[in-house]
C-alpha cells in the first residue's frame, strides 16, 4: 500500500483495507518504548540479588534493550495495522505473529470518541475509540489515524447510530 505523507489519503469508504499514515510511526515507537520498565525492574532486583553485575550497569542496559525492542515491535505493528469501514461495519486488523481482526457492526456502535493528545495534534493525528455495549471488547480503539480520516469515520459511524437507535 502506498502512503503519501503530505496529503491525507482520500477517504472513499471503500472495502479496501487502509493503512495508518507513516508519520505516526515515531509516536507508536514512543509508546512501545515503555517496555523499558518491565525490563529495568527485574534487572535491578536480579543485579541486587546475585552480585554478578552492578545495578548501575545492569539497569540502564536492560532499560535500553527494552526500549529498543518495544519501539521496534511497536513500529512493526503500526506498519501492519489496517482499518476498514464498509457497509458491514468498522474493522481493525493488527499484528503479524499475534494477529487479530476485530469487527464492530455499525448497528452495535453505542458512541464514539476522537481523542487528540498534544503530540498527536502536532502530527495531525487522532485516536478513534468505538464503544459498544459489550464487555471485553467494549471499546475498540485505533490510534495514529489521520485526523481528517478520524473525523470522517466518526461522522459516518455517528450518523448510522442516529439512524438506528439501539436503545
Amino acid at each position: 500500500m502506498q502512503i503519501d505523507t503530505d496529503t491525507p489519503i482520500p477517504l472513499a469508504p471503500t472495502d479496501a483495507w487502509q493503512a495508518l499514515p507513516a508519520r505516526g510511526a515515531w509516536l507508536a515507537a514512543l509508546g512501545g518504548a515503555a517496555l523499558l520498565f518491565p525490563f529495568a525492574f527485574p534487572a535491578f532486583f536480579v543485579a541486587r540479588a546475585t552480585d554478578m553485575v552492578s545495578p548501575w550497569l545492569a539497569v540502564p542496559v536492560a532499560a535500553g534493550v527494552g526500549a529498543l525492542l518495544g519501539a521496534w515491535v511497536a513500529v512493526k505493528r503500526h506498519r501492519r495495522t489496517r482499518w476498514r469501514l464498509d457497509d458491514r461495519g468498522f474493522a481493525v486488523r493488527r499484528g503479524n505473529w499475534w494477529q487479530s481482526e476485530t469487527h464492530v457492526p455499525i448497528s452495535r456502535v453505542q458512541h464514539l470518541d476522537v481523542k487528540r493528545g498534544p503530540l498527536e495534534r502536532s502530527a495531525h493525528l487522532s485516536t478513534l475509540v468505538v464503544h459498544t455495549a459489550g464487555t471485553r471488547m467494549a471499546a475498540v480503539s485505533l490510534s495514529g489515524l489521520d485526523a481528517d480520516d478520524a473525523e470522517r469515520l466518526r461522522e459516518r459511524l455517528a450518523t448510522q447510530v442516529d439512524h438506528d437507535d439501539a436503545l
Binding site: R88, G89, S100, R108, T132, A166
Partner: protein
C-alpha cells in the same frame, strides 16, 4: 390506587411514611465505620476534658436523621403514561424522567425489617451504568407491587395499565416455569461453595479489621492447645493422622452446612414464572426478593454442570442481563439464576421454552482441531515445570514427584479437547467445554456486540484460529463465548457469516 393514570398531571406520590427510617438505616450502614471510630476515639479523648467529642456521634446521627426526614419530604414521583418522573432534593433539585421502555429490570426487595413494617424497596434498572435509574426506599407493599406490575405491562397499552393499576388479579395468570422444593434447595447448598466463600471473606475481613497480633495470637494459642492436648493423649502417628483427617472432614462438613443454610436463606421458595414478555423470580427465606427481566433482555446463557452437580444428577442455568451492576460488589439481586439447580431435562426444557428457535440440546456440535489436546496442557506446563524445579532446588529431589501431576492433567486435557465443540446457525452460536466441570455457553446472534478473530504463533503453526464473541453483561469470571482451536478456514467462514448476519440485523435489546 386511583383510576387511569394517563395524564402528565397525574397525582404526585410520595414514599411510604416510614421511609425515613430505612433511609437512615442505609446511611448508618455507610457511616458505621466513621461513627464507631468517633465513638472509640472520641470517648478516649473526652477523658482529657473535651466534652464536645463525646457528643460528636450523637450530633452526627441527628444530622443523618434530619437528612433522612428531608428526603422523605422532597422525594416525589409521578406515574405518567410512558414513564416515571422522579423529583428529589431540596437545595440541589433534580427531576428525572424514566421512560418505561428503558427499564430493563424491576427489583422488589423486602428484608425482614421491611416485612415487619409492610413495605418494600423498589429498584428500576436500565442497561449499563453504575447506578439504578431509580431507587425507591421504601414504598408500601401494595404500591410497590402495583408499580412493578405497571412496568411489566407498560407495552401492552393503557388498558393493561388500568387493569394493573386497579388491582392485581393479573398476577394469577403467570405460569410457573420452575419451583424449587426445600429438598432441592438443600441439594443446591450441598453443591454450591457459598460457605467456603463466606468463610474466606470472613477471614479476610477479620485480618483487616482486627489488630494483627490478635489473630496471630489466636492461631498460635489454638495450635499450642491442640498440640498439647494431642501430646497428652499419647497417640501413635496413625491415630494422629486419623485425628487430623477427622478434623479436616469436620471442618468441611461445617462449611457445607453453612452453604446449605445460606442457600436456604437465599433460595427458599424459589419460583420462576413468566407472563407474556417478562420472567420473574421470587425467592428468599427471611428477606423476600422479587425481580423480573424482560425475556428479550437476556444477553447470553450459561448451562453449568460441576462434579457435584453430576453426582446429584443436576445442572444450573444462568443468564447474563445488561443491567447496571455495581463494579466489584457482589450484588445478588439481579436476576441471574434462571435455574439455580434442576435436572438436565428440566434445564433443556427451560431453554427450549424460552428460546424456541435454539433447538436445544443441539446435535450439530463441531469438534475442535486435534492440536487442542496438547495445547490445553501448555498452561499447566508453564507453571508446573518452573515451580517443581524451584521446589527441587530448595527442598531436594523428592519434589520432582510433583511431576506425577502431569499425566493426570494430560488425561484431563485430552478428555476436555474431545468434549470441546461449537455450533453456529442462523439464530444461535454455542460453545461447550470442560470435562471435569462442564459448561455450555450460548447466545442469540442478535445479541452479539463485536467479533474478534485472533491467531497466536501457535495457531499459525497448527493452522487454527480463535473467534472471540462479545456480548453485553458478561461478567469477568464467566467463561468467555469463544470458539478456540478451530481450524482456520472454519473460523474465517464463521467470522464472515457472523459479520454478514450482524450487518443485516439491528440490535434487539
Amino acid at each position: 390506587m386511583d383510576g387511569p393514570v394517563v395524564d402528565t398531571d397525574a397525582p404526585e406520590r410520595r414514599l411510604h411514611p416510614w421511609s425515613w427510617l430505612f433511609v437512615l438505616l442505609q446511611q448508618l450502614k455507610q457511616f458505621i465505620f466513621p461513627l464507631i471510630a468517633l465513638l472509640v476515639f472520641g470517648a478516649r479523648k473526652s477523658d482529657d476534658g473535651d466534652p464536645w467529642l463525646a457528643f460528636a456521634p450523637v450530633i452526627g446521627i441527628a444530622v443523618l436523621v434530619v437528612l433522612a426526614i428531608l428526603q422523605y419530604f422532597t422525594y416525589r414521583y409521578v406515574i405518567g403514561r410512558d414513564g416515571l418522573t422522579v423529583r428529589e432534593g431540596l437545595l440541589h433539585r433534580s427531576r428525572r424522567e424514566i421512560p418505561f421502555s428503558r427499564i430493563h429490570n424491576v427489583v422488589v426487595h423486602q428484608s425482614l425489617l421491611h416485612r415487619v413494617f409492610g413495605v418494600a424497596e423498589v429498584r428500576l434498572e436500565s442497561a449499563g451504568g453504575q447506578k439504578p435509574e431509580a431507587q425507591m426506599r421504601v414504598l408500601g407493599l401494595r404500591d410497590a407491587l402495583a408499580l412493578e406490575d405497571l412496568v411489566r405491562h407498560q407495552a401492552r397499552g393503557p388498558a393493561a395499565i388500568q387493569a394493573a393499576a386497579s388491582d392485581e388479579p393479573s398476577r394469577a395468570r403467570d405460569a410457573t416455569l420452575l419451583a424449587l422444593s426445600t429438598a432441592e434447595v438443600i441439594r443446591l447448598g450441598l453443591i454450591s461453595n457459598r460457605g467456603m466463600i463466606v468463610v474466606a471473606a470472613g477471614f479476610g475481613a477479620a485480618w483487616q479489621i482486627l489488630p494483627e497480633r490478635m489473630i496471630e495470637q489466636f492461631f498460635r494459642q489454638g495450635a499450642k492447645q491442640a498440640f498439647g492436648y494431642a501430646e497428652q493423649l499419647h497417640l501413635g502417628w496413625l491415630a494422629g493422622a486419623a485425628g487430623v483427617a477427622a478434623l479436616v472432614v469436620l471442618a468441611l462438613a461445617l462449611v457445607r452446612a453453612l452453604s446449605v443454610v445460606l442457600a436456604l436463606l437465599q433460595f427458599h421458595g424459589f419460583r420462576l414464572s413468566e407472563d407474556a414478555r417478562r420472567l420473574m423470580v421470587e425467592r428468599g427465606l427471611l428477606a423476600r426478593l422479587r425481580t423480573s427481566v424482560a425475556r428479550r433482555r437476556i444477553q447470553a446463557w450459561t448451562l453449568h454442570e460441576g462434579v457435584l452437580h453430576r453426582w446429584f444428577g443436576r445442572r444450573s442455568l444462568r443468564i447474563d442481563t445488561a443491567v447496571a451492576e455495581k463494579a466489584g460488589q457482589q450484588d445478588q439481586r439481579a436476576l441471574k439464576d434462571l435455574a439455580p439447580i434442576a435436572t438436565p431435562e428440566a434445564c433443556d426444557a427451560l431453554v427450549n421454552h424460552l428460546l424456541p428457535q435454539a433447538a436445544w440440546p443441539r446435535a450439530d456440535w463441531r469438534p475442535v482441531a486435534a492440536s487442542a489436546r496438547w495445547r490445553l496442557l501448555l498452561p499447566t506446563l508453564t507453571w508446573l515445570l518452573p515451580a517443581t524445579a524451584l521446589a527441587a532446588w530448595h527442598l531436594g529431589p523428592w519434589a520432582w514427584c510433583a511431576l506425577a501431576w502431569l499425566p493426570a492433567s494430560a488425561y484431563a486435557a485430552h478428555r476436555q479437547a474431545s468434549r470441546m465443540g461449537w455450533s453456529l446457525d442462523g439464530h444461535l452460536v454455542a460453545v461447550r467445554s470442560g470435562w471435569w466441570s462442564r459448561y455450555w455457553r450460548f447466545a442469540e446472534i442478535d445479541k452479539l456486540q463485536a467479533l474478534r478473530l485472533s491467531r497466536s504463533p501457535l495457531d499459525h503453526a497448527c493452522g487454527t484460529a480463535s473467534l472471540w464473541l462479545d456480548t453485553a453483561g458478561a461478567s469477568g469470571v464467566a467463561a468467555p463465548l469463544a470458539l478456540r482451536f478451530v481450524p482456520e478456514a472454519e473460523a474465517r467462514d464463521a467470522f464472515e457469516r457472523l459479520s454478514l448476519a450482524l450487518a443485516q440485523r439491528r440490535l434487539r435489546w
